[in-house]
Amino acid sequence: MSSKNKKIFIVDDDSSVCLALKTLLMTFDFDVQTFNSAESFFAAVPNGEPGCLVLDIHMPGIDGWTMQQKILDSGSKRPVIFISAEKEENAANRALKVGAVGFLQKPVDGQTLVDLVNAFSEKNAGTVKQ
């Protein structure tokens, strides 16, 4: 499955993680945009804009769980993949329960992430529920 031009948004408060994941995903020909907070993502990306979201859970301000809830509440069907450096009991189950398409423990393996993105970004994404 081609990744050409598929859009991925990365939201992580760690700039280093953002840049590294962006560099990696770009080698798979994704169009990647990074944000260091939920607030900056919401300010820049309209609900309807297609694209898969790779979302860190623990962030100052709006955290990943809250951000995912906001996305659901807005009616967006944007696929969300949670990534976390914390080892949380049942975080993977919780992620799926709140409608995410995946949960990956950091450090994230590139190929696994790409497979997940490819599997779900087709169904996409950003279309607003009517």
Binding site: A20, L21, A85
Partner: protein, 326 residues
Amino acid sequence: MDLRAGNSQTTMKQEKKVIAEQRRRSRILKKIPVRVKAGEPKKTPDVLLKAATLNNLKETIRQQTNKIKVRNGQLRQGADREKIADLKIEEQREELLHVTRVGKLAEFVSSLAHEISQPLTAILSYAQAAQRMFAGREPALQEILQYIINDNQRATEVIRRLRLLLKKSHPVFEPIDISALINDTIALIMAHITVRNKVVKLKLESDLPFIQGDRIQLQQVLLNLISNSLEAMDENSDSRELFIRTARKDGETIIVEVKDSGCGIPAENMKKLFVHFFTSKPDGLGMGLSISRSIVEAHGGRLEARNNPDCGATFSFTIPVNRKNA
């Protein structure tokens, strides 16, 4: 008129007193066995009376002395009770400190794991990106990138193990047969022991009461002590025997000893043995013994180490018996 009557009443009273006193004396005298040796002048009743009074006095003193002794004992008991109460308060304070220490360690490891996972994520992503960028070219670079990825995985594995060790699961306290637990633990590590050409000798006291503890945590302590002992004996092929002994320390405590015939513990390391991140092994984490001690202390016991008089070291821990089964 009245005076006379009054006088006669006074006289009568005095007479009555005298009579009563005489009766009292005669009563006392009757009670005293008169022992007069031949040749001795017969003791007069007055002397005997004095002796009787003296005896009475002695008896009173003896009774008072006894009362004082009893009271003294009571006071001493009170002081002892106070001392015991003080000790208990001290113990509880220490227990609280230990619990705090275990909690702090878990908290510390959790935040450490998080802080390290972030740069590890970046390193892995960069290395994988570079591998893809140079795919099919630059074999030497590819090899180096693979080394970076491998070591990244090694660091990730260390974090995973640390997290597993300090998993914030609530300990399940249940009655445990410590001898059975030791046997189960040996079974787990037997292959490891055999490969190293070592022998385990068990001296487990029979009919020990059950202890109260978390099976997995205590097994973790045993595994840690046993594998440390095996490693200590690795340097010397002559030292082969590992002794594990259980015994009753007192009515309420059981002691478990793991004794090796290895290299022993250098004096300068003795004090640092249980300090987090202290290790004398080239690839050690310095977590095993500090975690083991935290576990034992959370069970209300103590973990200690000493060098044996001949060679090697002995680690011993105490664990309280389950009161219901004691």
